[in-house]
Amino acid sequence: MLEHAWVIPAITFTSFWLILFFGRRLPKGGSEIGILAVGSTLVLSCVMVAQWVGRAKTLAVGHGEEIEHIRGPVDNTVRWFTSGQFRVRVGTHVDGLTVVMLFTVALISFLVHVFSTNYMEGDRRFTHYFASLSLFTTGMYVLVTASTTLAALFGWELMGLCSFMLIGHWWEEKPNSNAALKAFFTTRTGDIGLLVGISILFWAAGGTFDIAKINQAALSGQISHTVLVVAACALLAAVIGKSAQFPLHTWLPDAMAGPTPVSALIHAATMVVAGVYLLARVYGVFWVGFHIPDGGFNFVAAVGATTIVIAAVLAFVQRDIKKVLAYSTISQLGYMVMALGVGAWTAAIFHLFTHAMFKALLFLGSGSVSHSVHSFDMVDDMGGLRKPMPKTFATFMVGSLALAGLFPLAGFWSKDEILLGAGENGYKVFMIVGLVGAFMTAMYMTRCVYLTFFGEYRGHGHPHESPLPILGPLYVLTVFSVGAGLLNAPFTHEWFGKLIENETFFHAGVATHDFSVPDALISTVVVLAAIGIGYLLFFQGKLPRGVTARQPLARVGYTFLANRYYLDHIYTGGVVGGISGPIARAAYWFNQNVLDGIVNGVAIVAKKFADWQYKYIDQGAIDGTVNGSGHGAEGLGGFFRTIQTGRVQQYGALLFGATALLALALVLTV
């Protein structure tokens, strides 16, 4: 199966067409085809994981004494096309990272399919919804199995398209179609970087799109450092767009306009981590380009760290439960990018894996809640839901604690590993930022849980527990949210890390660190403190009421946050409209104050002169001449006016006739 990884995207791609053509005629509207297809890919990906684990360790990596044997990647490529000297190959490249990603995507996609059968029931575009889901899953499979940057680009764009279609699923409402457009354009802005980066690396690595060769060329010093920096910056732009990093993160909260299962699949677990995956895949370029092993400071880590804090702060002021989760996703993606920036490669992928589990759980949980109260507004329509929806409450609670990073749930292990890596690799500042982020994460999740499940019910109608198709996926994800972290714990001998660490990882010589109890204690204390303070603030109502009304500073801060740092204003008002606005205002001011003054002054002088001139020169000498020429011009104009009939064919006749005459003149003279 490892050689035939192409079967997996092929299955979902076939399913896309089948649903599109025959979905409407089937009793379940095509959802059965989608579930069958994704279910079979889930089985196949489990088979692949098993085969990978059983694969012999034959590939020798390392230098000198420290030679280690790892499982070699499985390549299977065919020639795609030849054009002159270019021979472009396409195919699959399967290693530990690939099989883990395949499993993650297949699992989440399968659960989302099951969840959607109930959640989307009766939707008018039910069939198209499932077709888009299949196509999206295909795109993600293509990306993670791609052996070349070109194939990766293909999957990348396919996902972008499906994301656009699914965000705008209910496009009849203007905000939804606007959100879809915004997501598409914002990610496209970053994708320009991807194209540039792929092109640069193609030439720099000696005319190849092969990712393994590019990594090798980058790490062996075959590509000059300047070129690598430019390529890495370009690729980072793509990562910033797709993985919603600061400053292009603004599309992700708006993308919540799509159906909730879509948010769980695309905007939490899979598509948004495509950027992180790309970073991890062509890690050699970033490793050398940004001097990641040197420690101290680098651009990738800075982008990630900024995103962690900025998004976490915004999560505090949201009323919409999905927006809280959206900002939380941005913040967690920041962790992954920061982890890659500080050289904690394994930790980043591990966090990607655990985050996919508990964030999908949280999103599906919020879907279950909104399915019951028909709203996403925590402040006005929720509260006290733990009683009518005990099962949703329990699973949501586990997800929240896993996200907060409480021992021994999944988030604890992966977040701790990132912080450890940052600390050990000489990125102390980023470790502290990570701790601050962890503190805020635990606190805003406390607020979110309080507003949703505790206190008095503030909505209308009678909330009820969701049916099994909705609860089933929640249970499965709960199991993973609890257990996934143990896969890479000290007492399982970092099984997960051993599984995914690939050729590039060893070739670069990425450092690995053993679990450290003091570090884990610090982060646990931080998380517990945050939950405690959050408990006091939100549950006990110790939050000073009306602080924004009394304290001007607090009010300014709140307004600043409520407007999302005014980034959207800057983008729409500043970048899009601003080129005309301020310039026009500046020009107006210049007009009013500078030019007018000059003009007025000149005018006064000129008037004096004109008075004199009028009397003697104008009335006498010039008028006669002017009147004469005026009459002349009018007559001439009247004559020429007759040619201007406004009929395009007469103009055409004149054009062709004149051209022919000119040609005649040319023939006669030459």
């Binding site: 002159g84 007469q650 006749a653 062709f656 051209t659």
Partner: protein, 172 residues
């Protein structure tokens, strides 16, 4: 040699005659059908010039696609299907004079300059050489190497035309 000339004669005659009918017919749908004849004859002429790929593209794009678009245009503008008296405007005379004048000058220049120049003989050339110098493969190589940038520009132009046509024609 003679066969080629006969073929050219037949094709040229049908192209010119159909073109003349195209600009004089009183029936819009007939005009579209005459256009098919012109385009097909011209496409066959391309084969005489050893440009088989362009000939096939001519058939696919023009006869297959553009004529269909024209028929759509005829249909959507609700032209009378059948005889219609008022298809010409009042400047037929001017148009005729201009066209004949152009034709005279063009013919004079062409005959004066090229005299009896012949196209190079391709009968003696080996098949492999022909393929390498003017075959379909050579066209593909040229498009994706020498003319890569114009090719991309043309593709962007098509995209712009697509968007432009939609924006122009949609109702809102």
């Amino acid at each position: 040699m003679i066969a080629e000339n006969i073929a050219f004669g037949v094709l040229a005659a049908s192209a010119v005659l159909a073109a003349l009918r195209l600009v004089t017919t009183k029936n819009v749908v007939h005009a579209a059908l005459y256009l098919v004849v012109v385009l097909a004859s011209v496409g066959a002429n391309y084969i005489l010039l050893a440009a088989e790929f362009v000939a096939v593209v001519q058939l696919l794009v023009y006869v297959g696609a553009i004529v269909v678009i024209f028929l759509f245009g005829v249909m959507l503008t609700r032209a009378q299907i059948g005889h219609e008296s008022e298809l010409d405007n009042d400047q037929r005379g001017i148009a005729l004079v201009t066209a004949l004048f152009l034709l005279g000058i063009l013919s004079y220049v062409l005959i004066d300059f090229f005299q009896d120049d012949k196209l190079p003989e391709l009968t003696g050339v080996s098949k492999a050489t022909l393929q390498a110098t003017r075959g379909t493969g050579a066209v593909g190589d040229a498009i994706f190497s020498t003319y890569l940038v114009p090719f991309e520009v043309v593709s962007v132009l098509l995209l712009a035309a697509l968007v432009g046509a939609i924006v122009l024609a949609r109702r809102d």
